[in-house]
């Protein structure tokens, strides 16, 4: 993901709150406010079709989004199969499938912006 290097600083052990890139998070929250209420229960991950076949973890997708780990996110997000099972089990009624969709769209947009600028 060379073309996304501009989005993140060198990864380090420490979570540096000051360096979070919140652009993607902001755009997701704007369109899917339900995502605000995740309580990290892992119900989505347990039932996820992709997560049972690969090392994909949809709960961690949400976490990466919150931490602004956009380059990792752009790799992981490709594994989702859009089956919607996660949304069916979520105790907070979050439309997780839509969150994934919005992340994909947002990443595509960030990429285009970079090419254009």
């Amino acid at each position: 993901m060379k073309d996304l290097d501009f989005l993140t600083s060198t990864p380090s052990r420490q979570i540096d709150y000051e360096k979070f890139d919140t652009r993607l998070l902001d755009s997701v929250l704007e369109n899917e406010t339900s995502f605000l209420t995740c309580m990290s229960c892992g119900g989505c991950t347990a039932t996820c079709s992709a997560g049972n076949l690969t090392n994909f973890n949809v709960r961690k997708i949400g976490l990466m989004l919150r931490r602004g780990e956009i380059d990792q996110l752009s790799v992981e997000i490709e594994k989702c199969m859009f089956c919607g099972k996660c949304t069916l089990v979520c105790p907070r009624d979050i439309n997780i499938r839509n969150v994934v969709l919005l992340i994909k769209k947002g990443i595509a947009l960030l990429k285009t912006e970079n090419i254009l600028s």
Partner: protein, 345 residues
């Protein structure tokens, strides 16, 4: 003091109603306590041991029962109040068309309703033989039945599932039932005492052990009873040909999906608003809060006052509570009723 003793109707003969009735009777009021079941005691008549001290609930209930044999108290059982209304300066209570009675004030102590676990279809209650609720387990232990699978075997591994029907938008209840975490720990300990060879796992989202002695029980469960805790919400259970169960959750602390085979599942069912609440709120007598429990007049200053002057409330019809909280709450309701009549004179 009073010319004619005031008459107070207490609706619901669980521990909240029993305590309120006996305190008010001691203060000189005339009480009618109405209970829909054959006997008083409410849910406590179904439980085996009480947290935090593993005591016998029958001790609490029999102490309250003997306080009910007071000249000022009349107990009516097998009668369900279906309607309350205001009639001039009296309140009128009805049980269908069979009974009608007037009172100067009402204390609602109608308690809670257990969440119906079959509503969480993916957990298999009512479909799979070895899926029980915490209430089923209490009754089994109370009746001193050995803990066995449906086919009569000693379970080797049991999973206790937290937050069933609570904190769950899909079940329509977003609030926390407050006492089920500690109930789960109590039951894990009791299971280990009966089945020392059996592995016990609690699947939780957050451990809400709010009581001052509850964390002590958590420690005991870990140290003495080898209970194991996995942070993750159960997504589903499936029955295998031999009637054991496979459960799926995420082990969120390691960040990986987890599968486990267990012989038995215990669902920690939540506390829902009592069914009678709908009757009482139907004609606007009392209002309900955002969770469907009885709404209080002021959450800080008037916890025992409903939105209708003269109708009071106590115990788990207000919100989930433990036994000690329920009893304290009932005593505070009695005090509010006494203040109400003293101000009136």
């Amino acid at each position: 003091m009073m010319n004619k003793p005031r008459h107070i109707a207490v609706i619901g003969g669980g521990i909240a109603g029993m305590e309120t009735a006996s305190r008010l009777a001691q203060a000189g009021y005339k009480i009618t306590l109405i209970e829909k079941e054959r006997i008083t005691g409410g849910h406590l008549t179904q439980w085996s041991h009480l947290f935090p001290d593993s005591s016998d609930p029958a001790i609490v209930v029999s102490r309250l029962s003997s306080a009910l044999s007071h000249q000022n108290i009349k107990v009516i059982t097998s009668t369900e109040i279906t309607d309350i209304s205001k009639n001039g300066q009296y309140f009128n209570l009805k049980s269908g068309s069979e009974m009608s009675l007037n009172a100067d004030a009402i204390v609602v102590t109608s308690g809670f309703h257990l969440f119906d676990a079959s509503r969480k279809e993916e957990y298999g209650y009512g479909l799979f033989d070895n899926v029980l609720t915490s209430a089923d387990l209490e009754l089994m232990m109370k009746n001193e039945k050995p803990i066995r699978t449906a086919s009569g075997k000693k379970p080797r591994r049991i999973a206790i599932i937290h937050c069933v029907g609570s904190r769950d938008a899909k079940a329509g209840n977003t609030y926390c039932s407050k006492v089920c975490c500690i109930t789960g720990i109590k039951q894990a300990i009791e299971l280990n005492k009966r089945l020392p060879e059996c592995e016990i796992f609690c699947f939780y989202m957050d451990l809400r052990l709010y009581g001052s002695s509850f964390d002590g029980l958590y420690l005991t469960a870990q140290q003495k009873h080898k209970v194991q805790f996995i942070r993750g919400r159960l997504s589903e259970a499936a029955e295998k040909p031999d009637k054991s169960l496979q459960i799926k959750a995420e082990d969120t602390l390691s960040g990986r999906p987890l599968r486990m085979d267990v012989d038995m599942i215990i669902l920690l069912v939540g506390m829902e608003p009592g069914i009678s609440h709908n009757n009482f709120s139907r004609n606007g007598s009392v209002q309900l809060d955002e969770n469907g429990f009885l709404k209080c007049k002021d959450v800080h200053a008037a916890r025992n006052l409903t939105t209708q002057t003269g109708i009071f409330m106590a115990g788990t019809c207000i919100c989930p509570m433990s036994v000690s909280e329920t009893l304290e709450n009932a005593r505070s309701a009695a005090l509010e009723v006494i203040n109400y009549f003293e101000r009136k004179m």
